[in-house]
């Protein structure tokens, strides 16, 4: 039933935004941003179930918990960056939105640095020492 509520909320927000936009574009933007925020926060609670399943999976298969943590962080960064970028894009600031996305990409790559470090170390260790 959640999806009906959310779609209803989205539709109402869309209609109201269209109505208000003629008079006050500012409030139209605020309305859209608030709706987006509400849906985001509403759904973020539901993701908990998915995450707990993933944690169980990681636990049972015995992969290091650090992998799961990294992956979850990546998902979080991607979502938050995307969400912020969309709100800013709604406000008509495409350039700022693309900077937010850029920041998200950089932060995701930063997550990979320790993994790359370990792999590089291993590869160097594979090479015979001193030729």
């Amino acid at each position: 039933m959640d999806i009906i509520q959310i779609v209803g909320l989205g539709l109402i927000a869309a209609v109201l935004t269209l109505v208000v936009r003629e008079q006050k574009p500012m409030f139209a933007f605020l309305l859209a941003a608030f709706t987006g925020l509400f849906i985001f926060l509403y759904m973020i609670g539901k993701i908990e179930a998915v995450i707990s399943v993933l944690e169980q999976l990681a636990d049972r298969s015995g992969i290091p918990s650090i992998y799961l943590k990294t992956i979850l962080k990546i998902i979080g960064i991607a979502y938050i960056a995307e969400f912020g970028a969309q709100i800013v894009r709604d406000a008509g600031q495409d350039s700022v939105a693309s900077k937010i996305e850029f920041a998200g990409k950089v932060l995701i790559l930063v997550m990979a640095v320790p993994i790359i470090g370990v792999i590089v170390e291993t590869v160097i260790g594979l090479l015979p020492a001193g030729g």
Binding site: S61, G62, I63, E101, V118, I119
Partner: protein, 242 residues
């Protein structure tokens, strides 16, 4: 052997599944390349894990250390922007230091100038003139708190005569002397630290300075530097010798 193989395969399958879910969860295409890179690295690491374990015993702890070091370092390096209060406090501090240095310089210069002036005008041999400046809060200019004139012991009698001229006019002002004494004791407290001279000795030294000289010096200082005579203390060098 088979157990180990099963665990390894299970790990690989789990990681690949995870990567698939992440791919699915991603909000848009633009992030996909980056996330795929990281997911691919993690899969690679999982596949390589037996090799790593064979090569370097505790690769798991090494991985943890690497992650911890990486995750902690941005917080430690984080640059703290100074707040306006910090900047203002620093500015106050610098200003106070500057004022103090300026005051010290002024005291020294004033003292030198006073020594010259007194010696020229009265002919008395002056050992030193110590000027104490005090700066009240909010005051832009320091005020003279006290002037301590230390006379040298070997004065010539003839010099006194010039001073003695003044005595005739102002002998009545001797009554002022008790008023000044507390100030002199203050000066003694600051100077007596190195000389470790008791207060009564200072008073003795004070009394040993003839009133004529004192008055002469005061009038010189008042004329040339417009210093309030009550701020001027004159002492013989006996106080410093004892």
């Amino acid at each position: 052997m088979l157990d180990w193989l099963a665990a390894w395969l299970r790990q690989i399958i789990a990681v690949v599944l995870l990567a698939g879910i992440v791919d699915l969860l991603l909000p848009n295409k633009s992030m996909q390349r980056y996330v795929r890179l990281v997911a691919g690295l993690i899969i690679l690491l999982t596949i390589l894990s037996p090799v790593m374990r064979a090569l370097q015993g505790d690769f798991g702890t090494k991985l943890h250390e690497s992650f911890d070091a990486w995750l902690d370092s941005p917080n430690q390096v984080k640059y703290k922007m100074p707040t306006l209060q910090d900047i203002q406090r620093d500015a106050e501090e610098l200003k106070r230091k500057q004022d103090k240095a300026a005051d010290a310089l002024t005291e020294a210069r004033l003292g030198e100038a006073m020594v010259l002036e007194i010696e020229q005008r009265t002919g008395l041999a002056v050992q030193a003139v110590q000027v104490n400046l005090v700066r009240e809060d909010g005051a832009a200019e320091p005020a003279i708190e006290q002037v301590v004139v230390t006379l040298a012991t070997s004065e010539e009698e003839s010099d006194k005569l010039t001073a003695a001229d003044d005595i005739g006019v102002t002998t009545e002002e001797i009554a002022d002397v008790p008023d000044i004494e507390p100030i002199t004791i203050d000066a003694e407290a600051s100077q007596g630290d190195q000389a470790s001279a008791p207060v009564d000795q200072a008073e003795e030294a004070m009394a040993s300075v003839e009133e004529g000289k004192m008055v002469a010096i005061r009038s010189v200082l008042q004329e040339s530097f417009s210093i309030n005579p009550s701020l001027v203390a004159v002492r013989g060098s006996a106080a410093e010798e004892s």
